[in-house]
């Protein structure tokens, strides 16, 4: 076990904070923030894995096309896709939260579940 992977450890810690919020906080908005943080943690992890010390961003400059010059472009592309996906999920969750608040006047998911369970179907 070494401590060279500080970025990755931070990323996993962030993932953990978000994951705990997502699972344990009853407030829907906090759950959404937790989900966003979970995703941020994963993206940080991925981008950190793509980094190579001493190389620059993968944009061809001055015609140099050597592997030794640029960092790995794949993680950046994947994270880009991932960020879009998490914006989409966040928007859907926020819309759901808004509707639920309109119906039940609370953001507490447990309470909402309780109230919904009492409705006749």
């Amino acid at each position: 076990m070494s401590l060279t992977n500080l970025e990755e450890l931070t990323a996993i810690a962030l993932f953990g904070i978000g994951f705990t919020l997502l699972l344990l906080d009853r407030n829907l908005i906090k759950k959404i923030l937790g989900f966003s943080m979970t995703d941020s943690g994963i993206y940080l992890f991925l981008a950190a894995r793509g980094y190579v010390a001493g190389r620059t961003a993968p944009i061809v400059t001055e015609g140099v096309q050597a592997v030794e010059a640029y960092v790995n472009p794949i993680p950046a592309g994947l994270v880009l896709t991932g960020i879009v996906v998490s914006v989409a999920s966040t928007a859907v969750m926020l819309a759901l939260t808004f509707r639920l608040y309109r119906s039940y006047h609370t953001l507490n998911l447990d309470e909402i579940t309780n109230l919904a369970g009492k409705e006749a179907d």
Binding site: T10, I17, I29, K30, V71
Partner: protein, 101 residues
């Protein structure tokens, strides 16, 4: 390892903990926005300028905007303003807090 990187990583974690621990949703949203900005600095340090632009536009821009407009539609923002003015928060202010009273 650059000192700036370590600083940003600590900032990100601190923001994460703050979001987790605060009960005021408005504070949580603002801190989350700050975290996104710190994250985009990290992207620059990790040599991914594409991600930095996107993260800044999304995390500090659209995500936060949607969050704020939702919070306002569920009355949380104005309740916070009222609280600061020292008035008793209206009933809907319950939405402001992580846990209902």
């Amino acid at each position: 390892m650059q000192p700036l990187m370590i600083l940003m990583l600590i900032l990100i974690l601190a923001c994460g903990l703050c979001v987790a621990l605060t009960r005021n949703l408005l504070v949580a949203a603002v801190v989350f926005m700050a975290q996104s900005l710190a994250m985009s600095v990290v992207w620059i340090l990790l040599q991914s300028p594409d991600l930095a632009i996107t993260q800044a536009a999304v995390g500090a821009g659209i995500d936060s905007l949607l969050l704020f407009v939702t919070l306002r539609r569920i009355h949380a923002v104005d309740a916070a303003a009222q609280q600061e003015e020292g008035q008793a928060a209206p009933e809907e202010g319950g939405a402001l807090h992580g846990e209902n009273p």
